[in-house]
Assembly symmetry: C2
Homo-oligomer: 214 residues x 2
């Protein structure tokens, strides 16, 4: 398998964690989102993924965009170890936590959106940072409320083994820290992320561990 | 089952379609996103869903937020008729199309985001509309490229029966039309949406068919 990836891409980072947790080998193909006017915007990468976003997983003739579609695909084709629990209600809880990050938080703070704010809308760097921090605060508050005190929350987001929810949460917290967002109000999240960071799969997937890291 | 819904919510509309395609009965509980300062923002609804977004599905003791987590749950608990194909690559394609809408397009144009633009950022109504149309144009261009000429595209997004991808596409096109976005460049999308609109489940799920419609 090949994974088109960028070391700092939060969505690619999710998939790198999932691949690592499942112990799957893959070849990383770096796509630099800044250099050369953004390699993801060029025809060469658009042929791989017309959405011009990373990651894309290539498995033989199958090209899969969208990090959560990739993780679900890995779950179906390589079920062990599972990244979703076995019961429908638990699976729904894990998927909802993953989507809280992947739908309601991350897309608002994607590079192309931040660039639209300061480019097309002519907003200042301060307004760009405020925007970023606002949506992080709103999004993480939701996740914290779903995790804190919930009987299904364990060492990780759901029980005592990492799931797709943890694959999404850790990269989001990395991003939040990079942009100087306060995590003071999110003790359950902080505790779970610390647990995750003990595991080799999470460490190997981190931006700083990637061959294309700067 | 109970579905917390708002007639115009694109995410709730997706779930209403899925429930209809599966022939499942449910009780709609309207949550008005504008009246009373936004009923979704009040403690009563936040107890149901701390994310303060619709929809939420309640099935016995199980509360599920996030439209795609709900649709996956319905797929697992009521597998027939299926809203995902049977092969892993096909399932990945359908999920990716659904996520193209649910992650990369819709969250940018959600009411709370539009309100932040004109509220906190003090942008004009014109800039708000331009923002909306920009992300619709970018997002639909991706979906169009994935659909047009792809061998798996059939009467619907994937083959000749509706899937989770169609559940996401139709509400997005309803929204785009409401905001006056041009659909001229998206003939494959337009054709598929017209196919969907022939089906009773899609018609019954439409905003105008809801008891809380205005």
């Amino acid at each position: 398998m090949q994974l088109y990836t960028y070391f700092r891409s939060s969505a690619a980072y999710r998939v790198r964690i999932a691949l690592g947790l499942k112990g799957l080998d893959y070849t990383g193909v770096p796509v630099h989102l800044v250099k050369n006017g953004g390699e993801h915007l060029q025809p060469r990468y658009r042929q791989v993924n017309p959405g011009a976003l990373v990651p894309t997983l290539v498995d033989g003739a199958t090209h899969i965009p969208q990090s959560l579609a990739i993780i679900e695909y890995l779950e179906e084709t390589h079920p062990t170890p599972a990244l979703l629990p076995s019961d429908a209600a638990g699976r729904a809880r894990v998927r909802a936590l993953a989507l809280d990050v992947a739908c309601d938080l991350h897309p608002l703070n994607n590079l192309r959106v931040l660039d639209y704010l300061t480019g097309s809308l002519g907003l200042s760097g301060t307004q760009r940072k405020d925007w970023y921090r606002h949506w992080v605060a709103v999004g993480l508050a939701t996740v914290e409320q779903r995790l804190a005190g919930h009987p299904a929350t364990g060492r990780f987001c759901h029980g005592d083994v990492p799931t797709m929810a943890d694959c999404c949460l850790v990269p989001q917290i990395f991003n939040a820290a990079r942009f100087g967002c306060s995590l003071d109000g999110f003790p359950a999240i902080r505790r779970i992320v610390e647990e995750c960071e003990q595991l080799p799969a999470f460490r190997a997937a981190a931006p700083a561990s990637q061959p294309d890291a700067e």
